[in-house]
């Protein structure tokens, strides 16, 4: 259960960080967000990544290792989804 929570918090965090970058807002949202909204996204993204370790029930030693593991998976997923955006969108529209 803690694994799932850590993973989803990490995933949410990275998605928020991605959307906080003006370069990528047009790709995914179709418009640019205001600077305030971008800053809020960036802050909440980092907060989610930080909470991902706090939400772990393994204790600090093993928890830190598990946190890095889930961060890696979440980051890899976000980057893969982002670089294959066109392909995914085509599949979704069909």
């Amino acid at each position: 259960m803690t694994d799932a929570a850590t993973f989803f918090l990490s995933l949410t965090g990275f998605v928020a960080l991605l959307l906080a970058m003006p370069r990528h807002q047009g790709d995914w949202l179709g418009r640019k967000l205001s600077a305030t909204a971008g800053r809020a996204l960036r802050l909440s993204g980092f907060a989610a990544l930080a909470f991902a370790v706090a939400g772990i029930g393994f204790g600090w030693g093993v928890g830190a290792v598990a946190w890095f593991g889930w961060l890696t998976i979440a980051a890899a997923l976000v980057v893969t989804a982002h670089t294959n955006r066109e392909r995914i969108m085509r599949k979704v529209r069909r």
């Binding site: 030693g61 093993v62 890696t72």
Partner: protein, 305 residues
Amino acid sequence: MPWAVAANFPSEEAFYKAAFSENAQEASGTLAAVAPLPVLIGEAEKVWGMSPSFVAISHPGDAAAIATLYPLRDALGNNPKPLRLNAVTGAPLDVALSDLDASRATEGVMIQLHAGWFAGPVLRWLYFLSGVGGTVMIASGLVLWTVKRRAKLPDPARPHFGFRLVERLNIGVTAGSCAGIAVYFLANRLLPLGLANRADWEINSLFIAWGGLFVWTLARPAKRAWIEALAVCTALYALVPIVSAATTGRGLIPSLIARDWVYVGFDGVMLATAAACAFTAWKVASHKPKVAPRRKARELAEAAA
């Protein structure tokens, strides 16, 4: 990483002597039988409340024999200390191992982090996936290095020696090591049990297979070499579960029936690796290299004219 030892100690023996000096004890010269193992293990279970993972006995058969028992490694950093027993009587020795100093505690944690002994199944899969990610990153980086440089070559059809060398090494190292590891698993199951130095021959067969495939890929055109080497990898990895089922009682189907997920997982990973190799071979075979952009081609034509 032996550098730290090499930089600070004249020899490896000197390092081990300094690091584990309390283990050194002269033999007394009088004969005495070692206590039965269950006695020693029972003593450890009494002290720790868990079983030892490893028992070392120095000077077995001597009256001064000492048994050192190491606990199971299922916690990160705070395992109980190793236990030293008089190996003849099974009584704990007064000279307990000195408290873990900072450097040895650090070493312990680094090794535990590296090997992941403490980790449960989910964390072990994360370790595995991170390892796969790192490996794929290195392999794809090696390939991209040549792809990027090929486009910049004056004549991509006839690259210079250095480029060809790197291209060849890439194929031989990436696909060759991959095939070698499959052969290592196969050798583990196929080599006769009575073979002298069997464990060494498992490792030898890894490098023999790797070297053989390397030589083969050198003799073939680059694209064919990739496809053939990856096809060999596919066949070898697909063979591992088949050979396991034929030579051991731990085939995929018996393991599934016994719900032995470790063995099921291993066979599953072998099959997934075979599938990944087959997919990559197919991708290479159906790959059409991009033609140079028109402007670039025109510049090249003008430069040639």
